[in-house]
Symmetry: C2
Subunit: 131 residues, 2 copies
């Protein structure tokens, strides 16, 4: 049994067998994104050192950066007490967010409203091409 | 409509209406824990400045530290691009983990195995009393 068998996978929106993945930048230490991994994605990440996820929208294995080139080199994988969440500590190429921001968390609550507080670092139109 | 209505809540293990909450230490910047919030928990957090969650095991509102005293003062709330995950940036009293560790992520993958790399910072037997 691989390491994933020791984790406590959950069912998210009808897709079973997923752990939550928090992605943290190794240098800046900000949270870049939150995604999910199934067994295949988790084992591929450990095997290749590149962050893989299970895309709950596309319902398939997803190598981060496969289209944009913005891959994540995984430096360390942390596991929480009850085994339903992991942290990938990564070196992020370009930016993590499909919107062109460095991190998906580019908005914060200010006076009860959502306010954007970060600029984009790459052109999502170019990175994601013909979409 | 409160701010939660602008988020994209998910169904986790049969409990609908939840966003994933990543909890990050404001000073050290490590990830302390991952939990969930429903509308009530999210709004109570914004209202009081103390981290509230929806406990998926106890199926009720959960003020972090209600039993142990290890509360989390929420300094900032970040929201991700698709609105299904938030980050609470907190000042953590004591430790975040029910095991007595500072963070729930006290284990990491080493040579394909889970290895503990952090010591406990409080006595969980005392903090959680008669359990």
């Amino acid at each position: 049994m691989g390491l994933f068998g020791h984790l406590k996978a959950r069912n998210v929106d009808g897709t079973g067998g997923l752990v939550t993945v928090v992605v943290q930048d190794r240098q800046v230490r900000d949270v870049l994104m939150v995604a999910y991994a199934n067994e295949e994605a988790f084992e591929k990440t450990l095997e290749t050192g590149l962050a893989h996820y299970y895309s709950t929208s596309r319902k398939r294995l997803w190598l981060k950066g496969e289209e944009s080139g913005n891959t994540q080199r995984v430096h360390e994988v942390l596991v929480d007490c009850d085994g339903d969440a992991v942290v990938y500590v990564v070196d992020q190429k370009g930016g993590a967010c499909h919107t062109g921001h460095r991190t998906c968390f580019f908005r914060r609550v200010e006076d009860g409203k959502l306010a954007q507080f970060q600029d984009i670092v790459f052109d999502p139109g170019k990175a994601y091409g013909r979409k």
